[in-house]
């Protein structure tokens, strides 16, 4: 079974600074998707960024980018120019042939 590990339960960053959230995963599949989701206090799950495993180019979405290292099974999220609205829980997720698994989450606090 696939596993997803987020080793940073909590992180904080100053507004306008850059922060990187770590994620590693384990799988025997060759084709899969990786995601970062943001969950604010409203409990809504918001897709931040998505990476297709067969694409070598790292995905970017405005201030959000990933560092995808397929051989190392690593998928980190970089948030540039952090904003107060980025404060939330962040979940790394793996989607393979059938199921979709999540990490335990990283609580990010952006400080003014």
């Amino acid at each position: 079974a696939q596993t997803v590990t987020q080793s940073q339960p909590e992180m904080s960053v100053q507004e306008a600074e850059t922060v990187t959230l770590s994620c590693t995963y384990d799988t025997s599949e060759s084709n899969y998707y990786l995601f970062w989701y943001k969950q604010p206090p409203s409990r809504q799950m918001i897709l931040v960024i998505r990476q297709e495993a067969y694409k070598q180019q790292n995905a970017t979405e405005n201030r959000f980018s990933v560092n995808f290292q397929k051989a190392a099974k690593s998928f980190s999220l970089k948030i540039s120019d952090s904003q107060l609205g980025d404060t939330a829980m962040y979940f790394c997720a793996f989607s393979g042939i059938n199921d979709m698994r999540f990490g335990a989450g990283t609580r990010l606090t952006v400080k003014p």
């Binding site: 079974a1 987020q6 339960p9 998707y33 995601f35 409990r43 809504q44 799950m45 897709l47 998505r50 297709e52 979940f91 997720a93 989607s95 059938n98 199921d99 979709m100 698994r101 999540f102 990490g103 335990a104 989450g105």
Partner: protein, 110 residues
């Protein structure tokens, strides 16, 4: 918006009673999932479905059963609720490498 609705949104039930949560989608997606979210554990997969009457267990399936008699509905049943099943439950669907979530159901077992 993939048209996913969960019901009920909140429920309080007594230990030992059966409880059914419903996930309804309007987009005809094949894959549907049930997760529970607890502090320190993230979202853990309970069961998933890859088609009508096709379901499989996830990582925390004990005490839960599911049914999918129609494409649009995926039901999660707690046969005899226990306090350890107090949690927030999320339904999700995936299609084309994208996942969409319901609003969540907060279940409290007293």
């Amino acid at each position: 918006d993939a048209g996913i609705t969960q019901s009920p949104r909140h429920k309080v039930t007594e230990t030992g009673t059966p409880v059914t949560l419903r996930c309804h989608q309007t987009e005809n997606h094949r894959y549907m999932y049930w997760y529970r979210q607890d502090p320190g554990h993230g979202l853990r997969l309970i069961h998933y479905s890859y088609g009508v009457k096709d379901t499989d267990k996830g990582e925390v399936s004990d005490g839960y059963s599911v049914s999918r008699s129609k494409t649009e509905d995926f039901l999660l049943t707690l046969e005899s609720a226990t306090s350890s099943q107090t949690s927030v439950y999320f339904c999700a669907i995936s299609s084309g490498g994208r996942a969409f979530f319901g609003q969540g159901t907060r279940l409290t077992v007293v």
